[in-house]
């Protein structure tokens, strides 16, 4: 298990979130999530400007094996989507915390989001392993 980036926050749905300097947040799925899904072959992205609710469906990632919903960790509007995933969804497998980011969101109230520190998320992952 690789080390979790320390500058990110995490959700119990295995998403990560980074607070950017301009007040926006970037969201993706964790290394654990991409490994569980396997080779990704398709990502359904939201529209720019789309309004998202906390815990609402934000994107769908499909691996060879299965489809999985990605939920928005915050309420807000979609600023930007990672269009590169359209042609190359495997970027999420190769670099989940970098080139594999999924959306940038302008959050309404980030303090309302239920987020975990890297240590807490690591503890959650450790509990998943038998």
């Amino acid at each position: 298990m690789s080390e979790l980036p320390g500058d990110l926050e995490y959700t119990d749905e295995h998403e990560w979130l980074r607070r950017e300097d301009d007040g926006s947040v970037t969201v993706g799925i964790t290394d654990h999530a991409q490994a569980a899904l396997g080779d990704l072959v398709y990502v359904e992205l939201p529209e720019q400007g789309q309004e998202l609710e906390v815990g609402g469906e934000m994107a769908v990632v499909e691996s060879v094996k299965a489809a999985s919903d990605v939920y928005s960790p915050v309420a807000g509007s979609v600023l930007e989507v990672n269009e590169a995933l359209g042609d190359d969804p495997e970027k999420i497998n190769a670099d989940p915390y970098g080139d594999g980011w999924i959306v940038k969101i302008r959050p309404e109230d980030i303090e309302a989001a239920s987020l975990m520190s890297p240590d807490d998320y690591q503890a959650l992952l450790d509990n998943l392993d038998d």
Binding site: G38, Y42, V60, V64, A67, D130
Partner: protein, 367 residues
């Protein structure tokens, strides 16, 4: 790993090779060893090996073995004249639904070997035993002590020959497709479930680990159930429980070719019910679908055909060879080339295509 499932003789080898283990019909089996796509491509381009020891091997022997199997199976073992020859068949219930699909090998007079699915093991053994009760000189014996490896791909036989007992290598390499041969305690057959050339090799469980290691050392890629599924889907080979089950007639599952209607006086389980289905002129078609849009088809999605009605995908997924999504589907009778499949509330366009999608490494449809 806290799982309590059954384990094949190779379980520890799978874990060593980095397998992600999942439950499959009560067995702890490798799903993949890192990348199911790479495993898929290895089989299409070179060679891969699957541990299929979880599958159930049943030997049927005795003077009445032939008569019994001619009654038990919808295909006719009387077609097996040469020792070693294999036959694919459905085993039907009285309603003409599919209890299981299987391969039967004719070993020699009065000796047959069946390979049935793992997930249906108990049901199949009970079903076979109940039908066997009316036959006299007949022995039905499960061979749980045997392991089985499927080595598949264009280079599979060349790479795997070295792991066979030396005295039988040349004979194994000379096997024609859909033939097998007994080699002491081993059984080698030129069959598979991927649409590629290769062998399925049955051996004593104690020999499996050495054979596995030798295959890996020879450059054969270890492959899991996930790649097995995308390979068989591209080859348009049915999966029991998805494409057909006890409530599905083989005639609406693309398996009409496996039913031996001749000779007409052969009574087999389900024949009467099948004949009624055969007489229906508007029975559903079983077809291949190619998704024209981006996305991924999955099993049990709704298929909508303009003016004709609705159907359902029975298997679906992403085809690594085509780079597109494909499915098998049961759709309304009629002449049409296009339909729509509902994915998450949206209707996406699909084209009806001939199957298989891929065979022997080659794409068989227009993209």
């Amino acid at each position: 790993m806290s799982s309590t499932g059954s384990k094949t003789a190779l379980f520890d080898r799978h874990v060593e090779a980095g397998a992600r283990i999942v439950d499959f019909g009560g067995w702890d089996m490798p799903l993949h060893y890192g990348s199911q796509k790479e495993e898929h491509h290895a089989v299409r381009g070179r060679a891969g090996v699957f541990d299929v020891s979880h599958m159930t091997i049943v030997d049927v022997t005795g003077a009445e073995a032939r008569a019994f199997l001619r009654y038990l199976l919808a295909n006719d073992v009387d077609r097996l004249k040469d020792p070693g020859k294999a036959l694919y068949s459905c085993m039907l219930n009285e309603q003409g639904g599919v209890v299981d699909d299987l391969i039967v090998y004719y070993l020699d007079e009065g000796r047959y070997r069946l390979v049935v699915n793992a997930a249906t093991r108990e049901k199949d053994l009970a079903w076979i035993a109940a039908r066997a009760a009316d036959f006299g000189d007949l022995e039905v014996q499960e061979r749980a002590e045997l392991a089985m490896l499927a080595v598949q791909g264009p280079e599979a036989r060349a790479l795997a020959a070295t792991v066979l007992p030396e005295a039988h290598r040349d004979a194994a390499l000379a096997l024609k497709p859909f033939f097998g041969l007994e080699a002491g305690e081993w059984f080698i057959a030129r069959t598979g479930y991927t649409g590629e050339d290769g062998w399925e090799i049955v051996m004593p469980a104690a020999a499996a680990a050495d054979a596995w290691q030798a295959l890996l050392a020879a450059g054969v890629e270890p492959c899991g159930l996930a790649a097995r599924d995308t390979l068989r889907l591209e080859a348009a080979m049915n999966l029991y429980g998805n494409d057909m089950d006890e409530d599905t007639s083989p005639l609406v599952a693309g398996l009409g070719w496996t039913i031996a209607w001749q000779p007409e006086d052969r009574d087999f389980v389900g024949r009467e019910a099948l004949q009624a289905v055969k007489a229906q002129c508007d029975r559903p078609r079983f077809v291949g679908l190619l998704l024209e849009d981006k996305g991924v088809l999955r099993a049990h999605q709704r298929v909508v055909v303009d003016g004709m009605g609705e159907g359902e995908t029975t298997s679906g997924g992403f085809s690594p060879t085509l780079g597109r999504s494909i499915a098998l589907a049961r759709v309304p009778a009629g002449d049409y080339e296009r339909a729509n499949v509902e994915i998450r509330g949206r209707l996406l366009e699909v084209r009806i295509v001939s199957t298989p999608f891929v065979r022997n490494g080659k794409i068989c449809i227009d993209l």
